[in-house]
């Protein structure tokens, strides 16, 4: 079942829900985008009209054409986002893993600024309210403490899920966009000629003729930073709901930007001097409710970012890009997850952002650089999708790619200057990138050294062991997790585990294979009996959006087999069945450690050492496979990749 099926139908409710989930980030950009374009420059016709024109055409090309029209087509069984797109196209490009990792890294990294910049922008507006002028000053202690407090509470409450308050997000965003539209229209009515700013030639003039005009693209880009997140949230609402609501959202956004421009043209002062046009277009009597609505919208935008990060990391784990970490489902709501470690990392990141930048205007100078990279990487993956999946004409696709590449490269170049403001992000980005890179490639190396053998060769030995009463029974049902795709093969280490040292006699030997599918919500299985009632293999196909619960699935399958009379549950080894009829299951988890008996090339050595270090920080294999409750035996096996071969061990002659 698709995760989005509940919202595929277009209803008033589904449209309101879409507003609450999808548009938090892009919808709160009017709080700071046009202010960033004006900055400390003299307010004049060329800058204001050019700035609004650029914002409008960015929303047309980058948001509407690229994301709303084109990228949303790339839904993987209803799901969107860089990993879903990668799962769709990975078979067509061997090197697509790098743009995928880069896209996910940069999306996560810049996402850390979204909560501080939106909440700070909203709170700083309080400085305009009578009585708060001397208390709420951007960058001052009280303002910083309020922003820190709001964000800390938001992160603290993540563990309880958003089921209770989530239902208010949609209506709240309806109010927010209604407010943007009303405030904007209120100004446009007084200065209707501002509508001419929608003409592209004002934008063109700004970029080409205004002094250092091209570099203003870095600020213009802030109006579309949420577009990538919009695609990631596709699965929550469905394409139709997003496309329909976008009409309302875009009209509201454009009206708000035009309203701010109209105010700028009429306000009569040469410089902004710390004022925010967004709050300036509010009537004074509306300031407090307006700021409250803005703060709520900022919190909803931050929530969307946090939930998006949990989803991204969860997908990364399931596609083997991220170490297994603890993941919880705080509510019964499908798809809602909470990852404590990610919550802590983002919370600390947000706190550091606020303490370092202090004001929202300083954050504007750093925001957006990474998102341009995320967008470029999506364009690369999208090209493969359009050519190989949708079978579009190559020339048409390359034409579109060229257009987006021009737009995105321009934004990227204009955003490069932000590097000096955001150098500290590079460490964070490097950490995420290296974690994904190491995890992905170490598993590749690991897989290259897994030796498979023909299971058929050992079936008679397993049968003999099963019937050998001289060996004490290890368990009634012995279960191994196998990576072998083919039912006739098995890892050598599993056969070794059964036969070496004290052979493990059992009534039934199970080999369970978890197959992560490219489709997000697959959950089915097949069973093959290699020896009737003795050696059974189960293949469980699990979509990459589903958390694997091996033990739960296994017991359900066994229950079904017993109910269908396909399996005899057998008695417990110690004859205790009469006291406890529950079948005796024992899982054997084989954990690997890096043997000292290896000789590596530099790259392999670094990757594998980093991998085993990360593995220690992450979840144990037992928990990762969802084997919390059962009787689990952990066996440690050394991983020998390249055995040391050059040892010259010489026996000394005995001295007489």
């Amino acid at each position: 079942m698709s995760g989005s099926s509940a919202f595929k139908k277009v209803t008033i409710t589904s449209l309101v829900v879409a507003l609450g989930i999808i548009y938090g980030d892009i919808g709160t950009s009017p709080l700071y985008a046009l202010r960033a374009v004006i900055g400390e420059r003299p307010i004049d016709f060329e800058l204001v009209y050019g700035g609004v024109s650029c914002i409008f055409w960015t929303l047309v090309f980058q948001t509407t054409v690229k994301y709303i029209w084109l990228t949303l087509k790339a839904d993987n069984d209803g799901e969107g986002g860089v990993f879903s797109l990668y799962a769709l196209v990975r078979r067509y490009g061997k090197k697509l893993v790098i743009p995928t990792i880069l896209g996910a890294t940069t999306l996560l990294a810049d996402g850390i600024i979204t909560p501080p910049i939106t909440v700070a922008s909203a709170i700083e507006g309080l400085g305009m309210v009578k009585g708060f002028e001397t208390t709420i000053i951007p960058g001052e202690k009280v303002t910083i403490l309020i922003v820190l407090g709001i964000l800390s509470l938001l992160f603290f409450f993540q563990r309880f899920g958003t089921q209770a308050i989530g239902k208010f997000f949609g209506p709240m965003m309806v109010v927010w966009f209604g407010m943007l539209l009303t405030l904007g229209m209120g100004q446009i009515i007084h200065y209707p000629q501002v509508l001419l700013a929608l003409s592209p030639h004002y934008g063109y003039n700004l970029l080409l003729h205004y002094p250092k005009g091209f570099w203003l693209l870095g600020a213009v880009f802030l109006c579309t930073t949420g577009a990538e997140a919009l695609y990631s949230d596709l699965g929550h609402c469905g394409i139709k709901n997003i496309r329909i609501t976008w009409i309302f959202v875009k009209i509201s956004l454009v009206a708000c930007y035009l309203g701010q421009a109209a105010w700028l043209m009429q306000q009569g002062q040469p410089l902004l001097a710390g004022r925010n046009p967004f709050f300036e277009i509010m009537p004074h009597w509306f300031l407090i409710p307006g700021i409250l609505i803005a703060t709520s919208a900022a919190i909803i935008a931050s929530q969307a970012l946090i939930s998006g990060s949990f989803t991204l990391i969860s997908e990364a784990m399931n596609l083997n890009f991220w170490p297994r970490v603890t993941l919880r489902q705080p509510t019964e709501l499908k798809g809602q997850i909470y990852i404590p470690s990610v919550n802590t990392i983002i919370w600390i990141g947000c706190i550091l952002m606020i303490l370092y930048f202090q004001t929202s205007s300083h954050m504007e100078a750093a925001y957006g650089f990474s998102i341009t990279i995320a967008m470029m990487m999506t364009s690369v993956l999208l090209t493969y999708f359009l050519i190989y999946k949708l079978k579009w004409n190559k020339y048409l696709v390359f034409g579109l790619l060229l257009m987006f590449a021009t737009v995105e490269t321009s934004f990227f170049i204009a955003n490069v200057v932000k590097l000096k403001e955001r150098w500290m992000f590079l460490f964070f980005e490097l950490f995420i990138f290296m974690t994904m890179y190491v995890w992905y490639y170490a598993r590749k190396i690991n897989n290259r050294f897994i030796k498979f053998i023909d299971l058929g060769k050992f079936v008679s030995q397993i049968r003999d062991l099963n019937q050998d009463d001289s060996i004490p029974k290890f368990s009634t049902h012995l279960i191994y997790l196998t990576k072998a795709n083919n039912r006739h093969e098995i890892e050598e280490k599993i056969i070794k585990s059964i036969f070496s040292k004290k052979p493990k006699r059992a009534d039934v030997y199970w080999f369970v294979h978890l197959n992560r599918t490219e489709s997000p919500y697959t959950l089915n299985y097949d069973v093959s009996e290699l020896v009737e009632n003795k050696v059974i293999r189960i293949n469980i196909n699990v979509g990459f959006r589903i958390q694997p619960r091996t033990e739960f699935y296994f017991k359900k399958i066994v229950q079904e087999l017993v109910a269908n009379k396909e399996l005899n549950l057998h008695i417990r080894p110690d004859g205790s069945t009469k006291y406890n009829p529950e079948p005796d299951f024992k899982f054997v988890v084989i954990e690997k450690f890096l043997s000292v008996e290896n000789e590596f090339a530099l790259r392999e050595g670094l990757i594998l050492n980093a991998y085993f270090f990360l593995k220690r920080l992450g979840q144990s294999d037992k928990k990762a496979f969802g084997l919390d409750k059962s009787d689990v035996v952990i066996e440690q096996v050394p991983l020998v990749y390249h055995p040391i071969t050059s040892i010259q061990l010489v026996r000394n002659k005995k001295c007489s």
């Binding site: 061997k94 590749k444 897989n447 290259r448 053998i453 060769k457």
Partner: protein, 96 residues
Amino acid sequence: MKRDLSEELYKKYFRLNDRKVEITLKNNVVLKGILVGFFRGDEDAEEPCIERWHLADEKNEFSLGLDAFGFLSGTIVKQKDIAEILFFEDNSVMKF
């Protein structure tokens, strides 16, 4: 699409009853024994389905190709180094 001969070898080999083979490597070295295991290749690196084979003496059919002390017995043969394989069961030859 390019034929993956390692996959063809895999399919043929594990259907045989007599698994004794004679492998001629591209450097003309001739090896005899049975294939007791294999290592899968990395598709992303454009490697064949089976990248390496473990060839062991036929006496060691059930020993996993390891001696009593866990040291590897036999030879690891890379798929790309194989020139041809003679299957003793039907005297057929597969060339690479």
